[in-house]
Symmetry: C2
Subunit: 237 residues, 2 copies
DNA sequence: CAGTGGTCTAGACCACTGG
DNA sequence: CAGTGGTCTAGACCACTGG
């Protein structure tokens, strides 16, 4: 059973997405929502605070909660922007393609984050994926999901082609925080080929560790970004 | 006057920093803190939730709040890590040096984020700074603070050599969220000279917009990172 | 089983925005 | 000035962890 504040959050989110509440407009006040849905104000605030965290609204003391301008397309936990102006360019369609079927790997001692003995013993499922914007590849991603926790070896196992949505819907696993390391590096020949750039051209290499609501269960990712056409963005704190 | 939850937060933070509560240990439970400081549980939870957001503790249903392992050194809102293993390397001393005195600039139409008419009219104070780890430069940063809001034209105006701390202490301005764009690019001759690398070598270029608690007041930053020796890290969501 | 953090109620007072 | 979100109280029940 979902919690009250989650139901209210999803309901408001849908109204924002459908345009019932438009960017720049003020949401009903916390008092109004409280009365309308017969909830305590605390519960209403919980729902609104989640919408703030997800970037759908901003709150202003004395004024109200204002619907944010259209959210940018997500690319993993990143978002993308047309590069020419860095900001404000229209985004295109984002596609994710599996380079090959998910496969099992043992992870070695040279893995980019330190692993617990349990993780090492389990091994991982590796996903190799390319993300494209308007059909030009911008990300080459290797994701490592500890095996035995989830059986994900077929592309058809994935809901909406999304790993995180699949984990949420099928296994009740949610992503909390993520930590990442950023490195600018020269593209290897293989990477250059994927992006259609010259070997040695600058690419962004990101190492990431996702924390989940399941203790001891982390998801790791190593990905390369071609930032020539599209920059890679995120919001934090 | 500070709020109750902020006082409790600062008090607990200091106890963690001093080692009264050590990494891996469990904090007093919310009930105990409630009784000890004579606060409502809601207030205690507000304090703890802030400590979670700042990375000092993690909370676990049924177990309690556990003090996190030693926090990494901050580098702006980023942190640094020794690169050789990407993770786990000891961090060195971080120094920030002004390249020149802060100076006023008009910002043009080619600025990397769109500006409001008010911002354009005001102009900005520009800070040029280099951050070094163990005396090797890792960041070359250009920060733009809208003029007229704050008079910051002398290095000696800065508290602990930190812009954000200065804004907090002297002007009651706090940073909320930040959005950033990441681009991998080749170093120009000037940038290469600062980092002691070859022109054209890959560097990370970050564009950032900081939101503050003062409406309409944003701080902008454009910085270059040499990620050869140290990677650049952050935590989000 | 006792203890923990997560959700929730039904109130209250406050500082702030805008007319 | 009425209305807003931010802080705060004093309770309650729940699911979860660990012995």
């Amino acid at each position: 059973m979902q919690h009250q504040y989650q139901k209210l959050k999803d309901l408001l989110k849908k109204k924002i997405q459908k345009g019932t509440y438009k960017p720049g407009e003020v949401l009903p006040s916390e008092h109004e929502l409280r009365a309308q849905y017969k909830l305590a104000r605390f519960t209403v605030r919980q729902a609104l605070d989640e919408l703030v965290k997800e970037g759908y609204i901003t709150k202003h003391k004395g004024k109200g909660s204002i619907v944010s301008e259209r959210k940018r397309k997500a690319l993993g936990l990143f978002s993308i922007k047309g590069f020419s102006a860095v900001v404000g360019e229209a985004e295109g369609s984002v596609k994710t393609v599996f380079l090959k079927k998910p496969y099992k790997v043992k992870w070695g001692d040279d893995f980019f984050y330190p692993l617990s003995p349990e993780e090492k013993q389990k091994g991982a499922i590796c996903l190799e994926r390319i993300r494209s914007v308007n059909d030009s590849p911008v990300m080459l991603e290797y994701t490592y999901v500890p095996a035995n926790e989830v059986p994900l070896l077929k592309e058809s196992d994935f809901v909406h082609n999304s790993l995180f949505e699949t984990l949420h819907v099928k296994f009740n696993i949610d992503i909390g925080t993520a930590e990442q390391e950023l490195v600018a590096t020269g593209a290897t020949r293989e990477i250059a080929k994927v992006f259609g750039i010259k070997a040695g051209a600058p690419v962004l290499h990101v190492y990431r560790k996702y924390h989940t609501n399941r203790p001891g269960f982390f998801i790791y990712s190593s990905f390369y970004c071609h930032t020539g056409k599209y920059s890679i963005g995120n919001v934090f704190q």
